[in-house]
């Protein structure tokens, strides 16, 4: 970037913050989002802020733009931006800095760009506000910028609206608008979240090129793989504090703080591999699925085949992973297995007897044998009910009729999943995400099923909680000898719990086999793409093994 730089000399940091505090609200509703954070960012370097949701990353980043919000109070020992003391800034100073000195790539491009305006206008805005180019040249500059961030057909794209662009192009357009006025620093908030693996890689390349060209990059991410790929330095945040900070190699390979270690271990497949998941213990199959097909009628009568002829069997104690991208038909297949949807052709047999194609009346008494652990437990609980009543309903259908017995049994189940009697009277909203998923497991176990269908049971959870819930599922599966159908879009998660895996694409099974085999020698392109989406923490895993 050929921006004329005024102010600090090259080795002086562009951003120098000491002891930054950010508070929201007043009095009893006061929340301290950032406590005593210090960081420095120099030209051409990338500093990554890492932490789970709610750790204060975004509040910290926004306070660097003076945009922490109307209820926020920002205080600091030093807040130096481009060599100037930002603590003394008035609104005019901040406006001169925003976009011109520090550009923001906010989270989720779909909502971060004005949906009612074409992206060309959005990108031109910083140019015009800061009078970087005369008005009549703005359009040409927008085309240049779009070309620079790798958007094909920039002239047509400039006239498109955000909703007409794919995820990758949107993100590029957002980066282009942040770059327009040639700022020296770019703040990128989760720039690759929600993007497909291949698109993610290209966005990371683009950001990497920018730092090489001399832009300082403040990267905010919860994804350690992204951090490893881009950052020179990393700061780990938790509860508003920076708990560990240093060069990326040091922090990721030799973490000193316990929380950093927990984050690293929680990356699926990142920790030391455990004992191999159990294979089938044999016996007659519980579930036989033969050639099931399900079509849906789309809008305007178009037919869409969600599941196009899938067959498999599950024996007691067997764990089968079902992997595929969203829309590949996994959930439809699961709903047919659960008897919530009947297949158009083919059949499902439970315990050797017909399960699909029979009436609900016949199915109802047999439903206890298989239970679901849902993706989003919050929506799977009646919001008015307490934990005791939620699990109690399940016990009642399983024939536990005395109130006293139900309560005792509920406590036993809660303890089994790592909760206790103190959670009995809580409502779902008063539980954390991990606790909710544990309650969902407890409810699923209540009728003593022999088959558990887990539909993306951990994808809505933070990584550290993910690891705990996966642990619970695995221990229970082994000790209760449950058969399990485990659905996920994340191969690494499946690898933790399953012995066998099936990969689905467009309603068909494209590959299946023992999980290690599929992992090490994927035959299908789709499987390879899914594997690429797994965070590559090869270096760190190696280090972790050394540590042991």
């Amino acid at each position: 970037m050929s921006a004329p730089r005024t102010g600090p000399s090259p080795d002086e940091p562009l951003i120098d913050v000491v002891d930054l505090d950010v508070r929201f609200g007043e009095g009893t509703t006061r929340v301290q989002a950032v406590r005593g954070a210090s960081l420095r960012l120099s030209a051409g370097r990338c500093l990554a802020l890492v932490g789970e949701s709610g750790s204060g990353k975004s509040a910290l980043a926004r306070s660097l733009l003076g945009l922490a919000g109307p209820t926020a109070t920002v205080g600091a020992g030093r807040l130096s931006l481009f060599g100037r003391d930002a603590l003394a800034f008035g609104p005019r100073d901040w406006r001169a800095l925003r976009g011109r000195r520090i550009g923001l790539v906010a989270q989720d491009a779909l909502v971060a760009l004005d949906p009612l305006r074409p992206i060309g206008k959005e990108i031109a805005e910083p140019l015009l506000v800061h009078r970087v180019v005369p008005r009549h040249q703005a359009a040409d500059r927008v085309i240049d910028l779009l070309e620079r961030v790798g958007v094909p057909e920039p002239v047509e794209r400039a006239r498109s609206h955000v909703h007409q662009l794919s995820g990758g192009l949107r993100q590029r357009a957002l980066i282009a608008s942040a770059l327009a006025a040639q700022p020296g620093v770019l703040i990128a908030d989760e720039p690759t979240t929600a993007l497909d693996a291949s698109v993610q890689a290209r966005i990371l390349d683009l950001l990497g090129e920018l730092t090489k060209a001399g832009t300082g990059l403040l990267l905010i991410s919860h994804d350690l793989a992204v951090v490893e790929a881009l950052a020179d330095e990393v700061a780990v945040m938790r509860g508003g504090r920076i708990v560990e900070q240093g060069p990326v190699r040091d922090v990721l390979d030799r973490p000193r703080h316990a929380y950093t270690r927990a984050l690293l271990d929680a990356v699926p497949g990142g920790g030391p591999p455990g004992a191999a998941p159990p294979a089938a213990t044999g016996g007659a199959p519980i579930l036989e699925v033969t050639d099931v097909v399900k079509e849906f009628r789309g809008p305007r009568g178009a037919r869409r085949t969600a599941v196009a002829g899938v067959s498999f069997t599950l024996r007691p104690g067997e764990t089968l992973g079902l992997v595929g991208e969203s829309g590949s038909g996994k959930s439809t297949l699961a709903r047919m297995v659960l008897g919530l949807l009947s297949p158009d052709s083919g059949d499902v047999r439970l315990d050797g007897a017909a399960w699909s194609g029979v009436s609900e009346r016949e199915r109802r008494p047999r439903r206890r044998a298989l239970q679901l652990v849902p993706q989003d437990p919050l929506s799977a609980f009646d919001p008015r009910w307490s934990v005791a009543r939620i699990v109690g309903e399940a016990l009642q259908t399983a024939g536990v009729h005395s109130r006293q017995e139900r309560r005792e049994e509920t406590v036993r189940l809660l303890e089994q999943v790592g909760l206790s009697a103190e959670h009995l009277d809580r409502r779902p909203l008063a539980l954390s995400g991990g606790q909710r998923q544990r309650v969902a497991v407890a409810r699923a176990l209540a009728p003593r099923p022999r088959l558990l269908v887990c539909d993306e049971p951990v994808s809505a959870l933070d990584v550290s909680v993910q690891a705990q819930v996966l642990g619970v599922l695995r221990e229970l599966q082994e000790s209760l000898d449950l058969a399990m159908l485990f659905i996920s879009h994340d191969l690494a998660v499946v690898r933790e719990v399953c012995a066998r895996v099936m990969v689905m694409k467009d309603g068909r099974v494209v590959e299946s086999g023992p999980v290690e085999e599929v992992f090490s020698a994927p035959r299908d392109a789709c499987t390879r793409a899914l594997l690429e989406a797994v965070p590559r923490r090869a270096h760190a895993r190696h280090a972790a093994e050394e540590r042991l």
Binding site: R98, G99, I102, V111, P115, E122, V129, L174
Partner: protein, 316 residues
């Protein structure tokens, strides 16, 4: 071009369905009205013998079987023939056409005033300072809670009887329109302001406004270039409510101010059981509802590109 044709066809079909439904509903309701329609025609006190009664029944087609009456009614409706009024002894379509102008005038001015008021108040109260917003919220709440007939009576008392600035009833000049327009517009303006301000505050909280601010935009620029268009969207979706309120309001306001118009005719038709006239009013208001809905839908398309569907450029 085919999808466009299809869309237009679907819209038109939906509109016809609503009008047909409303007309059928009116027909059905009127069959349920107790008492002999002949009495509504000749008045309660008139003495008519059986022969005359039969003649009247025949004249209005009341002697035919119900399905035949229904089909004839729909057929006439298609040609714009709404039958003859029992009371006024002239075609309903003529009565409505004659009364449409004063009501349309009233509704048009009220709409303009309400929109103007709403936009001005929204913009004026969306600044950083909180007290204008609070004050305006209180005023809106009181106005929304004030029944329009009482508002009209009070305006009449103050400006016509006490101060004598404005005429008491319709005198034909523009001054007699002032109070009715204000009475009709104020409650609508209050609701529109509430919705628009809510929309504006929502828009100001959304991520794209953060992006806009992060580009160094001034607050007025953020509002005028980004937020205000978003604030208009929820207000536009109120179209159905808006039409209904205007027509309901017209019934009340025209009676308070003794103005002629559709609203006045509606009440007369109901009190005197002039069934063909009631049917005509129902059909007319369904047509107006559908027409306003279509216009607003087009406005929405103009404001929000997301509703326009796929364009030539395919998303990569």
């Amino acid at each position: 071009m085919r999808p466009v044709v299809r869309q237009v066809a679907v819209r038109l079909g939906g509109a016809l369905l609503v009008v047909w439904g409303a007309a059928s509903c009116a027909f059905l309701v009127l069959q349920l009205v107790p008492g002999d329609p002949v009495r509504a025609v000749v008045g309660a006190n008139a003495l008519v013998d059986a022969g005359q009664r039969e003649e009247i029944r025949h004249h209005y087609g009341l002697d035919r079987p119900l399905p035949v009456q229904y089909v004839t009614y729909l057929g006439h409706l298609l040609t714009g023939d709404l039958g003859d009024s029992y009371q006024l002894q002239q075609p309903v379509s003529g009565v409505l056409a004659q009364q449409l102008r004063p009501t349309a005038e009233l509704a048009l001015y009220a709409t303009l005033l309400a929109v103007l008021l709403a936009v001005v108040v929204t913009v004026a109260t969306s600044g950083r300072a909180r007290w204008p917003r609070r004050l305006s919220a209180v005023v809106e709440l009181v106005v929304v809670s004030t029944p329009s007939f009482w508002l009209g009576i009070m305006l009449l008392t103050l400006f016509s009887f006490r101060l004598g600035w404005l005429p008491v009833s319709d005198s034909g000049d523009v001054r007699s329109l002032v109070l009715p327009v204000i009475t009709l517009a104020l409650p609508i303006a209050a609701v529109l302001t509430q919705v628009m301000r809510e929309g504006l505050l929502d828009a100001l909280r959304s991520p794209f406004v953060l992006t806009a601010r992060a580009r160094g935009l001034t607050e007025p620029a953020v509002r005028s270039r980004h937020a205000l268009r978003h604030a208009a969207l929820p207000a536009l979706t109120l179209a159905g409510w808006f039409t209904g309120t205007l027509l309901s309001g017209a019934v009340v306001v025209e009676n308070v101010f003794a103005r002629s118009g559709i609203g006045r005719v509606t009440l007369q038709a109901v009190t005197s059981r002039d069934l063909p006239l009631v049917q005509g009013v129902v059909a007319l208001s369904a047509v107006v509802f559908v027409a306003v809905g279509t216009v607003v839908e087009l406005l929405c398309l103009a404001v929000d590109p997301r509703l326009r569907g796929a364009t030539g450029v395919k998303a990569a």
